[in-house]
């Protein structure tokens, strides 16, 4: 019999915590002392992936910076549900200015801190996909190009959910939104549109670019910590399912994020100075259909005779991701 190293198999590296691990090896979220950067009482919908993602990312950033953190928030769900007067859910220094300018505002905060000799204070800018890939794109690209010392986090729920679920440049093809209705011969959002912001960010050759989901906390936290080891412009793109906009059960938020990654539809990887340095390989590969079916925004692909042609095109997108980033499970 061969000796086998003892792993913590009961909880592996997938659960949030593990009573058997030392505190240093657990996630930030497992700690009773976590910041709760976004605290209870916020007005996000049941099962909000963005609320979850924001707390995950910022609590990790708070640990990485030992609490020396300022966050700048674009307009959007996250801002609206967290700070309706007279209550705020934030427990960290936080500023909201406008929808399209969060990257630039974050640059300003970072510049001020540097000018004041407070280089220990790190700055996070954050926005939804609309504030990142659409209206905030110019400011974000400028921030990248200047290599300002900001970690910008996009919580991507693939549409304008705050305004009633309209299409953004991050909405996937065929998805139904209020401005891409599931009607006609090409139902839902159109193929060939959308901005792949992580790759655009990489094209700026900034120190660090990564994607993550709310389904893999260890991965997400590690990336935030990694990002904080760099100075200069960094970008983290986090997939955060939206029960309202996706037409999914509120309990399925984490599951859908997991299926997005496990199907290859949302590639999880990281890059340094424009070069991919790591991928989160698929563990239990599933077809895109398993990911799409629980979401009403894709219901037209499966109603009646369905649209197997469109599902096949979506599968091809996932397959292309698997190929491009080498996401296939190790045994494949």
């Amino acid at each position: 019999m061969t000796e086998t190293r003892v792993h913590f198999y009961q909880v592996g590296s997938f659960a949030v915590g593990n009573r058997l691990l030392s505190d240093a090896d657990r996630t930030v979220q497992a700690s009773q002392e976590r910041t709760n950067s976004l605290d209870a009482g916020h007005r996000a919908c049941q099962g909000c992936g963005e609320a979850l993602g924001a707390r995950y990312a910022l609590d990790a950033a708070m640990r990485a910076t030992e609490g020396r953190l300022v966050a700048v928030n674009a307009t959007g769900c996250l801002e609206v549900f967290s700070t309706p007067f007279p209550e705020t859910s934030w427990r960290i220094a936080w500023l909201h200015s406008l929808f399209g300018n969060a990257p630039a505002v974050a640059t300003g905060v970072a510049a001020a801190m540097r000018a004041k000799g407070r280089d220990d204070v790190r700055v996070v800018g954050q926005a939804g996909d609309g504030g990142t890939v659409d209206i905030g794109f110019g400011a974000l690209s400028g921030m990248f190009e200047r290599n300002d010392d900001v970690l910008f986090i996009c919580y991507d729920n693939e549409g304008y959910m705050n305004t009633g679920v309209q299409r953004s440049a991050a909405t996937p093809p065929t998805a139904r939104t209020a401005t891409s209705e599931a009607r006609g011969p090409d139902p839902g959002n159109v193929f060939g549109q959308g901005k792949d912001l992580p790759r655009i960010a990489m094209a700026h050759d900034i120190p660090y670019v990564a994607t993550a989901t709310v389904a893999d906390l260890h991965d997400l936290e590690r990336k935030v910590e990694r990002a904080m080891t760099f100075h200069g412009a960094r970008y983290l793109h986090v997939l955060v399912p939206c029960p309202l906009g996706w037409g999914a059960a509120s309990a399925d938020t984490v599951r859908l994020a997991r299926l997005a990654a496990e199907s290859g539809f949302f590639p999880v990887f990281e890059a340094e100075h424009g070069v991919v340095t790591g991928v989160r390989r698929i563990r239990r590969r599933v077809g895109v259909e398993e990911y799409l079916r629980p979401q009403r925004r894709f219901a037209h692909l499966f109603a009646g005779e369905g649209r197997p042609d469109l599902v096949a095109r979506l599968q091809a997108l996932a397959d292309a991701n698997v190929e491009r980033y080498g996401l296939a499970p190790e045994e494949e």
Partner: protein
């Protein structure tokens, strides 16, 4: 010590002595010389500690300013015209958040048609944004106003816009007495923010406010503008005591004693008007000038006082509200004393068209004769207008009127 300096240079040198910690801008004529000069000072270490950021748009320039100011840095930027309009959302936002950013506005016309020359359309477009708007008459005043602007902004937590006429001031070389660093330091204490982004004392800045409190928030901002009406003159007096220069304040009255006719204006044109008034005074006419130095908050009481003896008030302004008329004139009318002087508006100098002493004297003459209409446009080429109107009436597709007008003018216009 007086130096012959370009206006932009004077402003840049003065801003630097205010020790801004973050300066950011996007280049736009005629603001460029100011930020180029500051950028050079940061680059060579003369201005330190200071972060100079050349951003990708005016929208980013004001946004970076918002972030920097909210993080407690003394923050400066400059723009003009289209740039101001491109950042307008952030202009309102800076004021709404109560961030004491100081911005130079090198006043320039707004297109289309695109035009890089001076008028006041840009400043007027943001008069309701919640900024204090100060207008400089000379390069000396433009430079001095920046020192006062930081003092006012930081005392009130309100952003301040120093308006100086593009090219006419920014690119003109005049004798300027640059303020000493020691004087600035005594006049302008280090910035103590009312609210600041600080991990040691975290707050949430920029909440969403609903109907239950929005009106109060806006009213409180209005009250701060009214507070500024008190503070602007006292800061100017303090400044005068230190420097011996009467820069700033709310209004600049000139030869108003016993004046029956008063011209009201803002910015560099006041110099020309004063020359005209001097000439008319020589001829025995009872005329005077009221320069409005603070357009926002609008000094209603000071204007009313200054005009209390006037029978005729003529507002000469470099902007107007299409379909209505004068913008400054509207405010002057609101401020007019109960004696009810006749009020005429002369829109002049649009897109950089020169206003000469002769022009001003002509206005005064028409006013004296009673032939100055309630609203008129100085040196308007009536023939060009008439022809374009005729073309438009004749055809649905007469072409872009700006180009038609240009063609008419090039072809000899009225003389053809």
């Amino acid at each position: 010590m007086l130096q012959q300096l370009e206006g932009s240079r004077a402003v840049a040198e003065t801003v630097a002595r205010c020790r801004p910690e973050v300066v950011c801008a996007y280049p736009i004529s005629p603001q460029t010389h100011i930020i180029e000069a500051i950028g050079a000072m940061v680059k060579d270490g003369r201005l330190a500690p200071c972060e100079f950021i050349n951003v990708e748009s005016e929208y980013a320039a004001m946004s970076v300013s918002i972030g920097a100011s909210a993080a407690g840095a003394r923050t400066y930027t400059a723009t003009a015209s289209q740039g101001l309009l491109f950042m307008i959302e952030a202009v309102y936002n800076a004021a709404g958040l109560g961030l004491p950013v100081v911005m130079t506005l090198a006043n320039r016309a707004i297109g289309a048609p695109i035009n890089i020359w001076n008028d006041h359309s840009d400043a007027m477009a943001v008069r309701d944004a919640g900024w204090i708007q100060l207008f400089a008459e000379t390069n000396q005043e433009a430079a001095d106003l920046h020192v006062q602007a930081f003092r006012l902004a930081e005392a009130l937590s309100v952003p301040v816009m120093v308006c100086m006429d593009g090219f006419i001031l920014t690119h003109a070389v005049e004798a300027v007495d640059l303020i000493d660093q020691a004087v600035v330091d005594s006049f302008l204490p280090p910035y103590e923010p009312r609210q600041v982004l600080d991990p040691d004392d975290p707050v949430s800045i920029g909440a969403m406010v609903g109907p239950e409190a929005f009106e109060e928030v806006r009213y409180l901002a209005h009250l701060r503008q009214l507070d500024a009406l008190e503070l602007i003159p006292s800061v100017a007096e303090e400044f005068a005591a230190l420097t011996g220069r009467a820069s700033g304040g709310l209004v600049h009255p000139y030869r108003l004693e016993d004046a029956e006719t008063v011209i009201v204006a803002m910015g560099s044109v006041l110099g020309t008007i004063k020359d005209a008034v001097d000439a008319r005074r020589e001829a025995g006419e009872r005329v005077g000038v009221l320069g409005v130095a603070a357009f926002r908050p609008f000094p209603v009481a000071a204007v009313s006082d200054a005009l209390s003896g006037a029978r005729r008030v003529i507002v000469v302004e470099k902007a107007f509200s299409l379909g209505m008329g004068g913008v400054l004139a509207t405010d002057v009318a609101t401020a007019s004393p109960a004696s009810g002087p006749d009020l005429a508006t002369v829109v002049a100098g649009l897109g950089g068209r020169p206003i000469t002493r002769r022009d001003v004297e002509g206005i005064l003459e028409r006013s004296a004769r009673g032939t100055l209409p309630r609203l008129s446009f100085l040196n308007l080429d009536e023939d060009v207008v008439a022809r374009e109107r005729a073309r438009m009436a004749a055809s649905r597709r007469s072409g872009p009127f700006a180009e038609n007008v240009l063609r008419d003018v090039a072809a000899g216009g009225a003389h053809r």
